[in-house]
Symmetry: C2
Subunit: 191 residues, 2 copies
């Protein structure tokens, strides 16, 4: 038999003692794959429990029709992509900033007025990282959200103020990536 | 403007040049949250593209009815939990080993005979880590699988032989965990 460290984690049923029931602020960050994907997994799992979920995508283009948009549509969950698909190659960052700020206005309303159990702000770290949206404003909105609302934020470079405020922060790191071997991104798997 | 490193990754549409189209072997490992969750996200995303997906769970108890089982059932995807929910507290590891070996026999058939686009072997690293199933056998089965079949393996302590063979390996690491603040695992989010 192995040591305690190498055994599977005890399941949720084994958590003992008085523990608080509350909405979590979850951050998936790091340079690896799986940040958005894990958020999609939570969306799907929560939907499995008949919770009300939605995802706002800050970078992906409004015309995006990747696996996640298609899957969400099939189960009647709203996934709204409101970005312009900008990357470091983009020229017009003012437009990207404006789009991000507009979607943040909507996000604030969605968070404050409730009605959802889980709100995912996909790739929302970037607008904070670039200074388009102040981290302090985000933390303030999160602090005043309905008690039981879970908010998941994904993207590289999670700002320190957000990490400090969050309940659960996971870093996804690349150990090995198929791009390095000339294998292209596979539909259904990576997008 | 920021540096190249801190900008969002270019989307899949920006991958240039001749690249191989093939099924991937993906490993989600590390001590953090998100290993199974990201696999669920891929399951959901692939299903969104009308791909055929299934998940075999090596540790979770056959009676498990967490969010992932419920969600999968709602969309008609088979998620089969065949473990006995063992943890480092378990007494009868022979039973756990037998169950894992039996499910691996089924997995081999599912992988070899095709019919699926994505097969997820959840918490499958543990039976390898404990020596119940030889890593070499697993790599051999993966090597001989149908060309376009994606296989995703999750769990801590991914064995070296598996990591070497895999195309995409991500390590999920804990930066901050709510258990440490006395907040209990939340349904729909963590299970």
């Amino acid at each position: 038999m192995s040591t305690q460290q190498s055994a599977p984690e005890p399941g949720p049923q084994s958590v003992k003692g008085p523990r608080i029931n509350k909405g979590l602020v979850i951050v998936n960050t790091g340079n690896g794959k799986g940040k958005t994907t894990a958020a999609m997994g939570v969306l799907f799992r929560a939907w499995g429990r008949d919770m009300k979920v939605t995802m706002l995508q800050f970078i992906k283009h409004t015309t995006a029709n990747f696996g996640e948009q298609r899957a969400a549509q099939k189960i009647g969950v709203t996934v709204r992509a409101m970005g312009d698909g900008f990357t470091w190659r983009s020229q017009d960052l003012e437009q990207s900033a404006d789009l991000a700020r507009a979607l943040w206005e909507d996000a604030k309303e969605i968070i404050a007025t409730g009605g959802y159990d889980v709100v995912i702000l996909d790739e929302f770290t970037y607008p904070m990282h670039y200074g388009w949206i102040p981290v302090e404003d985000v933390v303030e909105v999160l602090r005043n959200r309905p008690d039981m609302l879970h908010v998941i934020i994904t993207g590289r470079h999670a700002p320190e103020g957000l990490v400090e405020f969050a309940d659960l922060v996971t870093e996804m790191n690349v150990v090995k990536h198929p791009y390095h071997s000339g294998i292209k991104a596979q539909p259904g798997i990576e997008f």
